[in-house]
């Protein structure tokens, strides 16, 4: 392992004290003078044409300052896939149709919340109801009504991958199995409901403070929907209370706040209620996965044919990416010499699904991992051995998709088997107990430029000062995952400084360098980290030049920044304090501040990602055979995220992933009836609590990712995948119930046990 002084240490988060004191300001905490309160009117019906909207009573209510509908706003569609304009299918407010219960129809801004609420209730909308279509079979069948006029047949995205010869592969297989899996929608359930506050600057610029993962994307799309130039819109991300993929698009309330602030000349704030979040919020894609895999007798994989239909809900949102990625993840983890994928993204009259932690991987890998276990059982091979036999390794190529660079997958499987005493436990458990395994791979950011940005994917600016401090500016978005701290650690490491020497300003499109695509796809550590190091190295170049000149030595030394000093490598006697060398550089340039910019855009990295993380997880469960209730007793995880920048941060990501995976496997789901979400509160949307969390042991596999900053790659998102298959496999081991339709409920377990008995 590389020797680092700050990277790899448990440095507290740079915002921890502010958050511990309750002093960190989130969007809804902000109040501006004269601020108005916004409220959205949402469709109560799943699919209808809007015949008429009467806002006169709402407008007449004292205290109401603005009421807008689709008629009042520019008719500009938006969506994150700017590269393909035909995927942009959403207006900020419904123009002529509503497509799901909760679709945004009108908005009100008033002097207080009570008045806004009252005004919304005074808007009369006349709907002509249309047939609602709630599942992909209904929307994709011949003659189904089109949910979007532009898209007859309702399949909005098709994606295919094929390499090798799949049919030939099946021909050569000794054992073939074909299964269908259904995976369900779950909520991001970030604790901070979405909030946006807009203010019109006096010279015509709009500033939007918003709970987002993607300030740059919001800036660009907001500008286009408002008919303004990008530079006339400033987006600032205050502290954000979690995102998990649910805050990575321009959303209606952001548009409405901006539009209404322009219209009224007063600041306007919208904050969603938890009920709105659950009723209408984005969610993880439900998918139907048909998977056919072929093996040799000895367990060697030969071919895979994967067909996935994604239930996208009413709009594309991040569906195109999910369609793209679930096919890529279907080819990950194991060596599939022959592989074919066809993904279809279909519209339904339900709240749109979108990006959510894992982004196609939890669904695709659930099918892969369960099928692996089923095949292992049929072939009489231990599931761990079966995985080791087929595991991808460093240097493996996935045609047209990626080349795997660092890879600690086999080591992860071996470690987790050892930690859990797999071999013994798999045989020697008491009745009702079971142990199971699940694995994952995940990307460290995306390579494909669907947003069609002209900027680098990530950028950083470092300003060095003669007092020995530096200021790091970046548009990267810390939404709780801790990237600000990780970036500071990397910068401190590179410049030989302490955490306290680094000031940081982030995620303000007007002051931080263009651009950053945002916090998603586990891209920030690798991409922004590389940009930070690029800037730091440019600073060092100048420092080293100045020091060389000062030392006037007849031998040219390698230089280093260490312990707050700049020095010839290993020669602390010749060291000069960092700040003094900064002053030297400045004095040599007529006082010009020492500032450097760093950038990162992946090059020659295939279609998907510059680097993959890997890992394996084992779950021990006990099932109450009378009630069917599952208690997860222990989780073991071994994973490869390259260099660990902040161990506590990584372990926190892991524990959070287990919580989410536990919910995905066992308790969380949207209960829907005719397009309506029935469980719209935390009482009935069942997220695991502190009392449900199992003890957890973790081991970091030591690898170094050459493309990553100081060897680092993704750590927080891949782990969203293995928990559900590991628990599912353990439940099968305990009860004989093999779950092919998530979530695993006590009822399904009991029914299966009854059938088996």
């Amino acid at each position: 392992m590389e020797q680092f002084s700050i990277v790899g240490k448990d440095v507290p988060r740079n915002d921890a004290v502010a958050k511990a004191r309750g002093a960190a300001v989130y969007t809804d905490d902000m109040t501006l003078p004269g601020m108005l309160f916004g409220k959205i009117l949402r469709s109560p019906v799943p699919h209808a044409r809007i015949i008429n909207i009467d806002t006169s009573k709402a407008k007449a209510l004292p205290g109401v300052k603005s009421v807008i509908t689709g008629k009042d706003i520019p008719k500009v569609k938006y969506g994150n896939w700017r590269l393909f304009a035909d995927t942009q299918d959403e207006y900020a407010l419904a123009m002529d149709k509503v497509r799901f219960i909760g679709d945004e129809v009108a908005a009100v801004a008033a002097v207080d919340k009570e008045t806004a609420q009252e005004a919304v209730e005074l808007i009369d909308v006349e709907y002509e109801e249309l047939e609602g279509l709630y599942d992909v079979d209904a929307t994709t069948k011949e003659g189904a009504p089109a949910i979007h006029d532009y898209c007859p047949g309702n399949v909005s995205v098709n994606r295919k991958i094929e390499y090798g010869d799949v049919e030939k592969g099946f021909g050569e297989s000794d054992y073939i199995r074909e299964d269908t899996f259904e995976v369900h929608a779950v909520s991001h359930a970030y604790l901070e409901p979405c909030s946006a506050l807009a203010q019109l600057d006096l010279d015509g610029r709009i500033t939007l403070w918003t709970s987002t993962q993607v300030p740059y994307i919001v800036q660009c799309l907001l500008a286009s929907t408002l008919g303004m130039r990008e530079n006339d819109v400033r987006v600032v991300k205050p502290f954000v209370g979690g995102g998990f993929g649910g805050k990575m698009e321009l959303r209606t309330w952001e548009f409405c706040a901006a539009f209404m602030s322009k219209q009224t000349g007063r600041p306007v704030k919208f904050t969603l209620s938890r009920e709105e979040e659950f009723l209408t919020g984005r969610r993880r894609h439900p998918m139907t996965l048909h998977s056919k895999v072929g093996f040799k007798k000895d367990g060697t994989l030969v071919a895979k044919d994967l067909r996935i239909v994604l239930d996208g809900g009413a709009y594309n949102a991040m569906g195109p990416t999910a369609t793209f990625l679930c096919g890529n993840f279907g080819a990950m983890l194991y060596r599939y010499p022959n592989y074919r994928f066809h993904g279809q993204h279909a519209y339904t009259n339900k709240p749109p699904a979108s990006a959510m932690r894992g982004f196609g991987a939890p669904q695709s890998l659930y099918a892969s991992e369960i099928q692996m276990n089923m095949a292992a059982e049929a072939l009489g091979i231990d599931p761990v051995e079966m995985r080791l036999k087929n595991a991808q390794v460093s240097g493996d190529k996935i045609p047209d998709v990626a080349t795997i660079s660092s890879c600690g997958f086999k080591e992860s499987i071996e470690a987790v088997a050892r930690m859990s005493d797999w071999k013994r436990r798999r045989k020697e458990l008491k009745p009702g107990q079971g142990i199971g395994i699940g694995c994952y791979s995940f990307i460290s950011g995306g390579v494909f430029n669907w947003f069609n940005t002209q900027y680098p994917f990530s950028a950083a600016e470092v300003r060095a000062f003669s007092d020995g401090t530096v200021h790091l500016l970046s548009m990267a978005s810390d939404i709780g995952q801790g990237c600000d701290t990780a970036m500071k650690q990397m910068l401190a490491e590179e410049l030989g400084l302490q955490m306290k020497d680094i000031r940081i300003t982030t995620a303000d499109t007007a002051t931080t360098p263009q651009a950053d695509l945002g916090a998603w796809g586990s891209r920030v550590t690798l991409m922004v980290g590389n940009a930070v190091l690029d800037a730091a190295r440019k600073i060092k170049e100048q420092l080293f030049g100045a020091l060389s000149a000062r030392l006037n030595a007849n031998v040219v030394y390698e230089m280093e920044c260490k312990n707050g000093m700049v020095q010839p490598k290993g020669r602390p006697k010749k060291a000069i304090p960092f700040g003094d060398v900064v002053a030297m550089v400045q004095k040599s340039k007529r006082g010009e501040p020492l500032i450097a910019h760093g950038y990162y855009t992946p090059r020659d990295k295939g279609l998907v990602t510059p680097a993959f993380g890997f890992g394996a997880q084992i779950a021990l469960v006990e099932v109450d055979r009378e009630t069917g209730k599952v208690e997860v007793e222990q989780m073991w995880t071994a994973h490869d995220c390259g260099t660990v920048i902040n161990p506590k941060g990584v372990e926190g990501q892991l524990a959070g992933s287990i919580q989410m995976g536990l919910g995905y496997a066992l308790s969380e789901q949207f209960v829907m009836q005719d397009g309506k979400t029935l469980n719209t509160n935390f009482l009935d949307y069942k997220m695991p609590t502190a009392m449900d969390m199992p003890p957890s042991a973790v081991e970091h596999i030591d690898t170094y990712e050459p493309e990553g900053p100081l060897g680092a790659k993704e750590c927080g998102e891949g782990l969203a995948s293995p928990t559900a298959p590991a628990i599912s496999d353990a439940v099968y081991h305990a009860t004989g119930y093999r779950c092919k339709d998530l979530p695993i409920t006590p009822e399904k377990i009991l029914n299966s046990m009854e059938e088996g008995a």
Binding site: S273, G628, V671, D684, T689, M691, D692, P746
Partner: protein, 291 residues
């Protein structure tokens, strides 16, 4: 979050509260802990014209226990205080358990047992045990006072037997006799902290020739907490063997009338009635034999 507008009153005596209730008429709503009322108001399910707070009436707070008279839980006694009360934990462990397993820490610091009953949710955690123990509610109005057996109190989901102008002022639970055992069992979809999908309260009285009295109440499987009379008939007068208990569980399952909702399917609820009734009977029997 915006609550609908209402008038607010904080009477300091019961008389004052009763008068207010009369004056304000049908639009008035009583407020104890507020943990149900405010949620309903926040979701627009309830829009009272006025709210009369009870927590400022000192005489409604008390929890008293007397070996002869039994237990009296005042209308504004907090769930947390009932759960932690030394006498309740000693003499009525199932009542303490029911209170302790209601919702979560903060809700128990605000909510009341009486409120949980008045709210009349079919899933109310405190109802089955109190019903099994033959509790009565004390009801007062400007014109008088009455006692009502708790099993006549629930009228439907969200509906109770209080007439306009009446206030539930206390819950009375008879003193536990020797040979009595009580158990509360519940199950929910999430792990530990949750609203019950099914709950069961059982009281048995064990004599030398077996169980000579039994009361079994099921929650969340009918519009109101229901008595499992057929199951009771199977165990009354019998030794509580595993076979008898098993049969009683099946009888309770058959007589329960659950629905399918967001929390569970009717089918699963029925199965759980059998399991929980069996577990409750076994625990109640064991507790009775220890007394």
């Amino acid at each position: 979050m915006t609550l609908p507008k209402f008038e607010y009153f904080a009477p300091e005596s019961l008389d004052e509260a009763q008068q207010l209730l009369l004056d304000q008429g049908v639009g008035a709503h009583l407020l104890a802990g507020g943990t149900d009322l405010l949620v309903k108001m926040n979701h627009g399910l309830l829009k009272p014209a006025s709210v009369i707070a009870l927590k400022h009436i000192k005489e409604l707070e008390a929890i008293t226990y007397d070996p002869k008279e039994g237990l009296k839980i005042g209308a504004t006694a907090l769930l947390a205080d009932v759960a932690a009360h030394a006498d309740i934990r000693k003499h009525y462990p199932a009542i303490a358990a029911g209170a302790h397993e209601t919702a979560n820490v903060q809700i128990r610091n605000m909510g009341t047992v009486a409120g949980n009953l008045c709210n009349a949710a079919p899933s109310a955690d405190n109802a089955p045990t109190l019903l099994a123990m033959d509790a009565e509610v004390e009801i007062k109005s400007a014109t008088g006072e009455r006692r009502l057996p708790l099993d006549q109190f629930f009228k439907g989901p969200g509906q109770n037997a209080l007439a306009s102008g009446e206030i539930l002022t206390a819950i009375h639970v008879p003193a536990p006799g020797s040979g009595e055992g009580v158990s509360y069992q519940h199950i929910s979809a999430r792990g530990k902290v949750d609203i019950s999908a099914v709950c069961v309260g059982v009281m048995v009285h064990m004599a030398e020739n077996g169980c000579d009295d039994v009361r079994i109440f099921l929650g969340a499987v009918a519009p109101v907490p229901m008595r499992a009379a057929k199951a009771e008939a199977l165990v009354r007068g019998k030794q509580l063997t595993e076979e008898t208990i098993e049969a009683a569980g099946i009888a309770a399952m058959e007589e329960s009338q659950p629905i399918t909702d967001v929390r569970s399917s009717a089918d699963y609820r029925k199965k759980m009635v059998a399991v929980l009734t069996r577990r409750a009977l076994a625990e109640a029997r064991d507790r009775a034999l220890k007394r």
